[in-house]
């Protein structure tokens, strides 16, 4: 079965093992995903689900000193990378991929003005001269609704609010004209009213430019705000995927159901949230069977021995032995 447009980004069977203070952790265990041109994909999961690590591996931004092993392949447009440990891979993929992070203030260089940082990026990416780069920088800052772009250019990061720094990061990322923007918890450090503004901005820029967007968040509300499709991650795997409408209205995987049930709501439909019993499995061990089985309310004997696969077909799917058609 082939989808109508060829994916702009494809990840196949991504595995990442990382050194941590607790030993080697199997952070990502067989993640595959496809992103269509112009599509917004949300990746949701709790801390330790592997959502950020998977995308850092795709970018080629994992800290080499902490990597124990990376396997899998990444295809961007018509170029593929099968050896993700390769150092040069980052600079070649950076032409097509850009990433923004949770803490924009620390992602910027504290001793350089915003102008120096944007102009440096534009010169490196597009080979522009200083004057042209400055004019382009002002255009970009206007596009991200920074009220006084001239003043912003001469400011240092600490003189700007967290929301303004995130706007600058978005301007720098968009200025590189990436095919795919990966936004890792871009609003988590911001106040709610500013979070809403930044989500609107990212969504508008994505629609206007037609780039694809991957938004990573622990907050189901953030995913519901702008994503077309969502992947739910647990213990380094994708356990459910589908359109946001399908997954939020009729979640199939018991983990997705539990995650929705423990999310608080401020609107009228608020029901008492329920915590998920138990904890994430020990990620240092290779997990046999379903990683959610110890916390699962509908566990079967087979869940202890065999890991359910995520159905490869398009549309709404969950990696669970309870799903119709999942019989071994």
């Amino acid at each position: 079965m082939s989808r109508a447009p060829a994916p702009i980004l494809s990840v196949r069977d991504l595995h990442v093992r990382l050194w941590t203070k607790f030993g080697v952790v199997r952070a990502v265990n067989g993640v595959s995903l496809d992103l269509a041109p112009g599509e917004v994909l949300g990746i949701v999961g709790e801390s330790g689900s592997g959502k950020s690590i998977a995308m850092l591996a795709v970018m080629g931004l994992l800290d080499a000193a902490l990597v124990d092993a990376v396997a899998g392949s990444v295809t961007v447009g018509d170029r593929s990378w099968n050896d993700l440990t390769e150092i040069e891979a980052w600079s070649s993929r950076s032409e097509d991929l850009a990433m923004i992070f949770q803490d924009a203030q620390t992602a910027l260089n504290p001793v350089l003005t915003i102008e120096a940082q944007i102009v440096e990026t534009l010169k490196a990416r597009h080979g522009l001269g200083r004057k042209e780069a400055r004019a382009r920088a002002i255009k970009l800052l206007e596009a991200v609704r920074i009220p006084d772009p001239q003043r912003c250019l001469s400011s240092y990061p600490h003189q700007l609010s967290g929301g303004m720094c995130q706007r600058v990061m978005i301007a720098m990322a968009v200025g590189c004209e990436p095919k795919v923007l990966i936004a890792d918890e871009p609003t988590t450090a911001l106040d709610v009213t500013v979070q809403a503004q930044i989500l609107n901005l990212i969504s508008e820029i994505q629609r206007e430019s037609g780039m694809s967007l991957v938004i990573i968040s622990h907050d189901l509300g953030v995913i519901a705000s702008i994503a077309d499709r969502v992947h739910v991650m647990y213990a380094g795997r994708i356990v459910e995927k589908g359109t946001v409408q399908d997954v939020f209205a009729a979640p199939r995987h018991p983990y997705t159901q539990a995650l929705l049930a423990c999310t608080t709501r401020v609107d009228d439909e608020a029901a008492a949230p329920r915590a998920i019993p138990g904890a994430l499995p020990d990620m240092r061990e290779a997990i046999s069977g379903c990683p959610f089985r110890d916390r699962c309310p509908i566990v079967l004997p087979i869940c202890a021995t065999e890991d359910p696969e995520l159905d490869a077909v398009e549309g709404h799917a969950a990696a669970c032995w309870r799903m119709p058609g999942a019989d071994p």
């Binding site: 106040d191 401020v266 009228d268």
Partner: protein, 330 residues
């Protein structure tokens, strides 16, 4: 009121803040110092058995106000009364015993614990400092309090780095309740936790509040979590309380344009409803607290603002029941 008054309606407030201001001197970019009024003319009472939430965005003064309540910050103006007696007029000994009754739980439980102490020692420390009980009694109290927060002997013997964030926050709570306080100020205690752990901690706090008869001042920017614990909600903006009402009617009946904007900004996990909400968001950012707008502090972002808002800072005035709002137009 039509329903019979509960005993707490006749009780005296545990804590009473009258016209409290807190000023900080901060360095200006051009050199020299500026005065930052972090809390401006706040009057508030904490009644026995209630759980009052201070909500608002960063810089609104909610944490500073919480610190004033437990005596960690001295107000620049106004007074703080504990059971009707001014805190700063108490002698040293009475002040110390009052402070035992007013405890605080912090956002980052790992940072609030000494990494070299085993958990039982950290929890025992407040008793040691206060000189409460014999060694055996202290040991017994620590075990009992850890049991109350759902931790066992295995956790008591552990070091902070061996516990999860949720478990550490339980330790933070145990350490705060070990001196049997009457008021517990919880400053963003769920912010660093995953969704499920957030719910577990709020459930624990509600349960402890009932069991130990402790009142809460719950400081949080998370209105979804606040809904689970609060009985009253105070919304703060640039150091002022702009709306104060009971929690049950806040989520549908908040009147102040800032409260409504805040509620509308919290994303909800429903793609259709949420996209509609996002189309009606608040513009601008919180102005600098060293240079707040004249008149109403919210007027620079307010959809209802008129000329009067530039000139007159609206006072908190009563609406229906005990509902207070500081706005000229609602």
């Amino acid at each position: 009121m039509s329903i019979p008054a509960s005993p707490s309606d006749f009780a005296l407030p545990l804590l009473q803040l009258d016209d409290v201001c807190v000023d900080f001197q901060v360095p200006k970019a051009q050199g020299g110092k500026a005065t930052l009024r972090a809390v401006r003319n706040v009057s508030l009472q904490v009644m026995p058995g209630e759980s009052i939430a201070l909500v608002g965005e960063s810089g609104c003064g909610k944490s500073t106000l919480g610190r004033v309540m437990v005596g960690l910050i001295e107000p620049s103006r106004g007074s703080v009364l504990y059971r009707g007696r001014a805190m700063n007029a108490l002698n040293r000994r009475d002040q110390q015993s009052a402070r035992r009754m007013l405890q605080m739980v912090f956002q980052n439980p790992y940072g609030a614990l000494d990494p070299r102490f085993r958990i039982h020692r950290s929890v025992r420390e407040p008793l040691d400092i206060a000189g409460l009980g014999s060694r055996a009694e202290r040991r017994e109290k620590v075990a009992r309090v850890l049991g109350l927060v759902g931790l066992g002997p295995r956790h008591a013997a552990a070091y902070p780095k061996q516990l999860s964030g949720g478990q550490l926050q339980r330790v933070g709570i145990a350490r705060a309740i070990v001196t049997s306080p009457e008021v517990l100020v919880c400053d963003e205690v769920t912010s660093a936790l995953d969704v499920s752990a957030k719910i577990q901690i709020t459930e624990l706090l509600v349960e402890l509040g009932r069991e130990l008869n402790v009142s809460y001042v719950f400081i949080s920017h998370d209105l979804g979590i606040v809904r689970q614990v609060a009985t009253r909600i105070a919304v703060m903006y640039l150091g002022r309380i702009v709306e104060l009402m009971d929690a049950a009617s806040f989520y549908r009946g908040a009147l102040h344009p800032y409260s409504r904007a805040l509620l509308n900004s919290v994303p909800i996990p429903d793609p259709q409803l949420q996209r509609d909400r996002l189309s009606k968001i608040l513009v601008g950012e919180v102005p600098s607290p060293t240079d707040p707008p004249s008149g109403c502090a919210f007027r620079s972002r307010c959809p209802l603002a008129q000329n009067i808002c530039r000139e007159v800072d609206p006072a908190l005035t009563p609406r229906k029941g005990s509902h207070l709002v500081a706005c000229h137009f609602c």
